[in-house]
Amino acid sequence: MNLEGKKVILHDMSLRDGMHPQRHQLTTDQMVQVATALDEAGVPLIEVTHGDGLGGASVNYGFPAATDEEYLRAVVPKMKNAKISALLLPGIGTVDHLRMAHDCGVHTIRVATHCTEADVSEQHIILGAKMEMDTVGFLMMAHMISPEELLEQAKLMQGYGANCLYITDSAGYMLPDHVTARVGLLREKLSADVEVGFHGHHNLHMGIANSLAAIEAGAGRIDGSVAGMGAGAGNTPLEVFVAVLHRMGVETGVDMWKLMDVAEDIVYPLMTHKVRADRDSLTLGYAGVYSSFLLHAKRAADKYGLKSTDILVELGRMKTVGGQEDMIEDVALDMKKAGAAE
C-alpha cells in the first residue's frame, strides 16, 4: 500500500468516545488536561461531550460528572491550535444543544444517525451549516448496509449541507475490504468538495488496518483515540496510528513523541476500565453490536447472573442499533425468565 505524500486530518475521540469506558465520569479538569496535551502534540481536532453526544446525560446512558456545557466552556478557551468538535444524535440531543455548543465555540458539529436513518438529521445539519460550522454527517453501524445504500444516505446528508461524511464502524465489525468499498464509493460519488471520513473501533484489532484502507480509498479524516480510549475495545489507538502513518510517509501534523507521552503519562493512568479486546469487546466486533453497549451489558450480566457475551449476542441477533441501551436490561430480564422456566 502506497500512501506516500497523502495528508490526513486526525480527530481524537478520547474525550467523547472515551467517556464510555469512563462511565462518563471524566472531570472537567481531566478533560482540560488531556485536551491541552493533545493540542500541544498537534492533534488538530478533538471531540468533547458525553459519550452519547450532546444531551446524552440520562438514566439510559449514564449521568456524566459535568454537563456538556461545563466541559465545553472549560476546554474550548484553552486550545491554542486544536479545534473542538461535538457529537449530536438526533433523537437524543436537539438543535438547542447545537446552539449551545456553537455558543461555547465548538468548531465542528458531527450529526450522527443510524446508517439507514439519515433523514432525521435534516434540521441539525441545516442549522450547523447555516451557523457556518464544520458540519459532518456521521453514519453509524455502517457495516449493516451495502455501500450503495450508504451512498444514498450520505447524499441526503450532503444535500442538507454536510461538508464531510463519515463511515462509522460503531461495532468494530468491518474488515478492510468493507471499508474500502464504502469509503471508495462515497469518495467517487459525493461532491469533490465534500470530505469523507472513517471512524473505527478496535474490537477485532482492525482499527489501524481499516483506517489505512480508508485513506487509500480516499478518506481525508480519520478518527482515533489517544491510548485507544473509546467504547468496546476502544477506537483506533491514535499514537500507534500516527507512528504507522509517519512510517508510510503520510502527513498528519502530529508530534508522535509527544502523543505517545499523552497516552502513557496522562490517559492510561486515568483509565478506570481497562480498554482492551476482552471477550465482551471481541463479541461486539464478531457479532456486529454497538460498542457502547459493553459496560451496560457487563452490569446487567452481573446483576442478573448471566453471561455478558450471551446478552451481547442476543442484542446482535435482534439487530439493535446505537442508542438502544435500554434493551440491555430488558433482554437480560427476558433471558433470566427463560432460564428460570427451563
Binding site: V59, E117, V120
Partner: protein
Amino acid sequence: MTTKVKAAIIGSGNIGTDLLYKALRSEIVEPVWMVGIDPESEGLRRAEELGLKTTFEGVKGLEPHIQADRVQIAWDATSAYVHRSNNDLVSKFGVRMVDLTPAAIGPFCVPPVNLEEMVGRGEQNVNMVTCGGQATIPMVAAVSRVQPVDYGEIIATVSSRSAGPGTRKNIDEFTRTTAKGVEVVGGAKRGKAIIIINPAEPPLIMRDTIHCLTADAPKQQEIIESAQRMVAEVQKYVPGYTLKNGPVFDGNRVSFFMEVEGLGDFLPKYAGNLDIMTAAGLRTAELIAEEIRRAEAA
C-alpha cells in the same frame, strides 16, 4: 336514536387513515369529512370509498361545509407547522380540535391520566402530545400518583417503517414535546425523552422504556399495583399495550419495559406507536362528543 356527532379528519396520510378506520366503528362520533392537500392522495380515495366527503384543498376546502354538515369535532393529523392555521380556521365555527401533531398549542391530553379533566374544562383544542408520550406518560403518572417523582425519562423505539416524514423532519419536536408531557401530565419534576428509530426487518413492535427516579425510596407494592391498574386502563383502547418487564427497582430508580402492539386497522400491528396515537385521539373525541350531546340535551 340520537345521531352521532359529526367529525372531520384533517390529514389523509397514514395516521388520518388509521384514525378513519377506528372512527368508523365509533358509536358516538361519525367521521364525515376527510381533508387532504393532494388530489392524488390514496387516503382521500380510500375515504371516499368509505362514504366520506373529501377535499384536496386543505382546511380551506372544508370551511364552507363545516356548518352545513354540522361538523363539531376535528382531528388534525397533519404536521406541527400547519396546525395553528388549521385550528384558526375551524375554531371560528366552534369546532373542537383534537390535535395529533406535536404543535401543542392546546393543553396535553393523555386519556388514562387527564382526559376527563381536559374535556370537563371545555378546552377548544387539546393536544395528544406524541406517540411516545401516549405510550409512556401513563406509566410515569402511575408512579407519581403514588409518590413524588424527581425525574422521568422515556425511551421510545419505533420501527423505521412506522416513523413518517413528519416525525423525521422535526425529530426535536418529538423529544421536546414528549419531555414536557412527562412533566406536565406525567407529574415528574424533570422530564427527558429519547427516540430511537430501528430499521430491522421484520419491523420491531414499538418498545418503550420508562425510568422514574423517585424522591424517596420507592413504595414498591403500591407502585406495582398502580402500574397494573394503569396498564389495564390503557388496554381499554390499546389492547396490545403490555408491561413486558418490570417494574425494576434499583435504589430510587423504577423502570418499566413496555411493548405496544397495534390493532392493525390500517397500519400494521408493529406500528403500535401510531396506533396508540389514533386510539387515544378517538377516545378523546368520543368523550368530547358525549359532552357536546349533554350540552345539547340540556
